[in-house]
């Protein structure tokens, strides 16, 4: 691996973690904790993306131990982002936002079994509350669990994809040219 990609991974992982802390400032119910994973994938391919996801989860785990099983979600996000980047979906918001919504579905499909079988669907306060709401609406336990993850993931992943698209569009060409896949992701090569 080139030294530049080695340097990219911690930066991308730290971007995820810093953003999910900073998002409080605008009072929106978002995580943004896959931003770095998606961005690293779009810039440098799936290997770098997966490494970013794993490092993000590992460091997050030091803060909250229940995050570790969700490393699987980070890996799936990286793979999905890779497919989206190859298909050029980051070139405009019109394609990026639906792609993000699609990821929302896939991410909640991945996190539901983990959440359900490991934690009885009690992962974090927010998701647990929406799950309880699902139960109150008469959904069966697994369905309520999916509902809970889905409500929180759906918007988050759409915003994350839109944010990554903004970044790729705002990235100066000279910076983009330094990463192997960036120009392709923005449709410049």
């Amino acid at each position: 691996m080139s030294i530049r990609l080695l340097a990219l991974i911690p930066v991308a992982a730290a971007i995820s973690l810093a953003l999910s802390a900073a998002v409080d400032a605008v009072a929106l119910p978002l995580f943004l904790d896959t931003t770095g994973t998606i961005l690293a994938t779009a810039l440098a391919g799936p290997g770098v993306g997966i490494a970013t996801g794993v490092v993000t989860s590992a460091v997050n785990t030091l803060r909250n131990p229940t995050f570790w099983p969700f490393v699987v979600v980070q890996i799936i996000v990286a793979l999905y982002a890779w497919v989206a980047a190859r298909a050029g979906l980051f070139r405009s918001f019109r394609t990026a936002v639906p792609a993000g919504l699609g990821l929302g579905v896939i991410a909640s499909l991945t996190s539901t079994p983990i959440s359900y079988f490991v934690f009885g669907c009690t992962t974090t306060g927010g998701i647990a509350l929406t799950t309880a709401l699902g139960r109150a609406l008469g959904l069966p336990p697994v369905g309520a669990c999916f509902f809970g993850s889905f409500v929180s993931d759906f918007g988050d992943k759409a915003v994350t994809f839109a944010l990554v698209t903004s970044v790729l569009r705002a990235l100066p060409r000279r910076t983009a040219a330094r990463f192997p896949w960036a120009l392709r992701a923005i449709g410049a090569a």
Binding site: A170, P172, R173
Partner: protein, 274 residues
């Protein structure tokens, strides 16, 4: 006349660590003030208090007739333009022009006025040729200048600048001096934190020195900069032009290069050729 800024017995501490103790001073419209002192003397805290990012523990910070306690930072932005350290990290638009117009647009001043303020700010710092460039394609020094232009474009009554010349070479520092003098002539007051005494001498007229959280000096900058023994306890030494004036005992002890050159020529004419 109401001062643009008045600190009235201001004290502030970070938890149990005191940062400022009973600091008072006024700044009048158009006045150009240097805030000097060692690292950790409390200078950056003053900036944060004026920008409304911190509230004083005791005393009051008045920006015009507004008590900063009652104002959010985004409201104070109508009167105070603040340049923080590492300001180049706040740029995000795809062109310098777009980034500079972000502030006035956020204040909601109307599109034509946004355009005018943006043009003026770029012009004042000679950035017009770079207006269409991506900020991150510029060398770091020009990026820093672009951030300063973004603050000028707010056209505030008071500019508070934290180390505006770090990383700038002499030519760019001269641009900053020129731009700030123009703003001051138009009535804006300046409060500038700087380690760069040559820049301070060229640009500013009054010197405040903070020493461990208290105001140790408040006097004309020229007198202070020419006096090595007074500067020494604050870890400062006279800038070269002031040192030259003192060494040659030039009349009036000028601290600005142009004035020193004029005095030097005048005195030399009255002397036999060496």
């Amino acid at each position: 006349m109401i001062p643009v800024l008045r600190l009235d017995g201001v004290s502030f501490s970070y938890g149990s660590v005191p940062a400022l103790a009973d600091v008072s001073f006024d700044i009048a419209p158009g006045e150009r003030v240097a805030l000097l002192g060692r690292n950790g003397a409390g200078k950056s805290t003053v900036v944060r208090l004026i920008a409304g990012l911190q509230r004083p523990d005791e005393g009051t910070v008045w920006v015009g007739d507004w008590d900063t306690r009652d104002c959010a930072p985004e409201e104070l932005a109508r009167r105070v333009g603040s340049l923080f350290q590492h300001a180049d990290q706040q740029l995000f638009a795809s062109s310098v022009r777009d980034d500079v117009s972000f502030g006035p647009r956020a204040l909601g001043v109307g599109e034509r006025e946004v355009e005018r303020r943006t043009d003026d700010a770029l012009e004042d710092l000679d950035l017009t040729p770079h207006a269409a460039h991506h900020p991150y394609d510029l060398p770091p020094a020009l990026r820093k200048l672009a951030a300063l232009a973004g603050v000028l474009a707010l056209e505030p009554a008071l500019l508070v600048l934290d180390e505006p010349t770090i990383g700038l070479d002499r030519a760019l520092r001269a641009r900053v001096t020129r731009g700030l003098l123009e703003r001051s002539a138009a009535g804006a007051a300046l409060l500038v934190i700087t380690h760069d005494l040559t820049f301070a001498a060229e640009t500013l007229e009054r010197g405040l020195v903070l020493d461990r959280g208290t105001l140790a000096c408040d006097e004309p900058l020229a007198a202070l900069l020419g006096d090595a023994t007074r500067l020494e306890p604050f870890g400062l030494e006279p800038p070269p032009v002031a040192a030259l004036s003192a060494a040659l005992d030039l009349p009036g002890r000028p601290v600005r290069a142009a004035e020193a050159a004029r005095e030097l020529a005048r005195v030399a004419r009255g002397r036999p050729a060496p």
